[in-house]
C-alpha cells in the first residue's frame, strides 16, 4: 500500500503534461471545428464534401498513425522536427476538431427546423440567427457531449507517451521498467486518470441534468 502512494506521488509529475496536452488539443479542436462545421452545413457542395472528407478521414484512422506521420514522417520531408508535445497537441487538436464538428452538428440538429424558419420569417440575418437563436439552443446538446469528449481525449492522450511526452503513462512505464512492479504502478496511473476525469464527468452529469439533455458518452478510439 505504501508502494501505491509512493507511485502516486512519482506519477503525479506527469499530470501537468497530460493536462496541458489535453487542454491545448481540445482548445485547438473547439476553434478548428467551427469552420469545419460551417463547411459541413454549407449550401455549397464542394465545401460540404471537403468538410465531410476531413471528418471522415480523421475519424477513420487511429491517433497512432497520425502521430507517427507528424512526428517521424514530416522531418523526412525537410521540415524541422517537432517537439513530442507539439506533435501531440497538433495531432490531437486536429482529431478533436473532427469529433467536435460532429458534436456541434448534433447540437444544431437537435434544434427544431422551425426555429431557423421563424428567424428567417422575422428577417433575422444569418449572424443573428446563429448567435441569438441556434447556438444558444445547440449548446444544450453539445456541451455535455463536448465534456464527455474531453474525458475521452484525456484518456486517449496517453498514447503520446510512445513518442516521448513525459505524461502520466510515460512515467508509469519508466517506473515499471525500473521496479518491475507493474500491478501497483499501473493501478496508481489508473487512479490518477480517474481522479482527473471524475470531476469533469460529475460536472457533465450535473450539467445535462440541469439542461435536461441526455449525457451520451460516445467517444472514439
Amino acid at each position: 500500500m505504501t508502494d501505491f502512494f509512493h507511485y502516486l506521488t512519482v506519477l503525479s509529475s506527469g499530470v501537468r503534461y497530460t493536462l496541458e496536452l489535453t487542454f491545448a488539443a481540445v482548445g485547438l479542436g473547439l476553434v478548428l471545428a467551427i469552420p469545419v462545421t460551417a463547411a459541413r452545413r454549407s449550401s455549397s457542395r464542394a465545401y460540404r464534401f471537403l468538410g465531410t472528407a476531413f471528418v471522415e478521414l480523421l475519424r477513420a484512422i487511429p491517433p497512432l498513425p497520425w502521430l507517427f506521420l507528424v512526428f517521424f514522417a514530416l522531418p523526412t520531408m525537410g521540415l524541422t522536427p517537432l517537439q513530442p508535445m507539439t506533435a501531440g497537441i497538433l495531432v490531437f487538436g486536429i482529431i478533436s476538431a473532427a469529433y467536435l464538428t460532429e458534436i456541434y452538428r448534433a447540437g444544431f440538429r437537435a434544434v427544431p427546423a422551425g426555429q431557423a424558419e421563424a428567424a428567417a420569417a422575422l428577417g433575422l440575418g444569418p449572424f443573428h440567427t446563429y448567435a441569438r437563436i441556434l447556438v444558444p439552443q445547440a449548446v444544450k446538446t453539445a456541451l455535455p457531449l463536448a465534456l464527455a469528449y474531453f474525458i475521452g481525449a484525456l484518456k486517449d492522450s496517453a498514447i503520446v507517451s510512445v513518442i516521448g511526452v513525459q505524461d502520466i503513462s510515460a512515467r508509469a512505464v519508466a517506473q515499471n521498467v525500473a521496479n518491475s512492479n507493474g500491478l501497483i504502478v499501473f493501478l496508481a496511473a489508473a487512479a490518477i486518470y480517474l481522479c482527473l476525469s471524475l470531476p469533469v464527468a460529475l460536472f457533465g452529469r450535473w450539467l445535462s441534468y440541469r439542461l435536461g439533455t441526455q449525457n451520451a458518452v460516445r467517444v472514439g478510439a
Partner: protein
C-alpha cells in the same frame, strides 16, 4: 513521395493487418459475452449487484485503454499469471470494450417494453428463456448499429497494442519504416488501411440506422 513503392509496403504490412483483425475478433469474442453479463447485472433489482456492476464498468473504462493494457500485461505476473502479448491485449481490450458497450446493450434491453416480460411471466416462461427467446431478439435490432460502431472504434484501438509489441499493423509499420526510413509512405499506407476498413464500416452503420428510423414510426 514515392507512390510506386506503396504496393510493396502494402504487401509487407499485410500480415500486420491480419494480426489486427485477429486481435479484433478475439477481443469482440471475449468482450461481448462480458458486456451482455454487465448489461443484465446492471438491470438487477438487487442493489449490491447493481452497484458492483457499475463499479466494474467504471473501472473498465475509467482509465486509458493503454493503461489497462499495461496493467494486464505487466500486472498479472504479480498473480503468477503471465500472458503473451497477444492474449494480454485481447483480454485488456475486451474488458475495456465490455465497459463501453454494456451501456449500449443495456439501453437496447431497456427499450423492450415491460409488457413483454409480464406476458412471458404470465406464460410461465423462465427468466433465462424470457431473456433468450423474448427480450434479446427484440433488443438485437436496436443494439446492432451501436455495437457495430463500437467494433469499428475498437478496430482502431487495436493499434495501441503496438505499445506491448503485438505484431499488429502499427508494429509492422514501425519496424518496416525503421529499416527503410520511408516513414511517410509506410505510415500513410498503414493509416489508409485503417481508413479502408473503418469508412465502409461506418457507412454500413449509418445505413442500418437510417433503415431503422424508417422502420419505426
Amino acid at each position: 513521395m514515392n507512390i510506386h513503392a506503396w504496393p510493396d509496403y502494402l504487401s509487407q504490412l499485410w500480415p500486420g493487418l491480419r494480426t489486427s483483425f485477429l486481435l479484433l475478433v478475439a477481443l469482440v469474442a471475449l468482450g461481448t459475452p462480458l458486456s451482455l453479463l454487465l448489461a443484465s447485472t446492471q438491470r438487477s433489482h438487487r442493489k449490491a449487484v447493481r452497484w458492483t456492476t457499475i463499479g466494474i464498468v467504471e473501472f473498465a473504462r475509467g482509465m486509458p485503454s493503454l493503461v489497462l493494457l499495461y496493467l494486464v500485461y505487466f500486472g498479472l505476473p504479480s498473480f503468477n499469471l503471465t500472458l503473451g502479448a497477444f492474449t494480454a491485449a485481447s483480454v485488456a481490450l475486451a474488458i475495456n470494450y465490455a465497459g463501453y458497450t454494456s451501456d449500449a446493450i443495456k439501453s437496447g434491453l431497456d427499450a423492450v417494453p415491460m409488457g413483454q416480460v409480464e406476458a412471458s411471466e404470465a406464460l410461465g416462461l423462465s427468466r433465462g428463456v424470457t431473456m433468450r427467446r423474448v427480450i434479446l431478439p427484440q433488443a438485437v435490432r436496436i443494439i446492432t448499429p451501436p455495437m457495430l460502431s463500437w467494433i469499428i472504434v475498437y478496430f482502431q484501438t487495436t493499434s495501441i497494442a503496438f505499445a506491448i509489441s503485438v505484431p499488429e499493423l502499427m508494429s509492422k509499420a514501425y519496424s518496416i519504416a525503421s529499416v527503410n526510413f520511408q516513414y511517410l509512405g509506410v505510415f500513410a499506407v498503414a493509416g489508409l488501411l485503417y481508413a479502408v476498413v473503418s469508412i465502409p464500416g461506418s457507412q454500413l452503420v449509418s445505413a442500418l440506422e437510417r433503415r431503422q428510423q424508417r422502420g419505426t414510426p
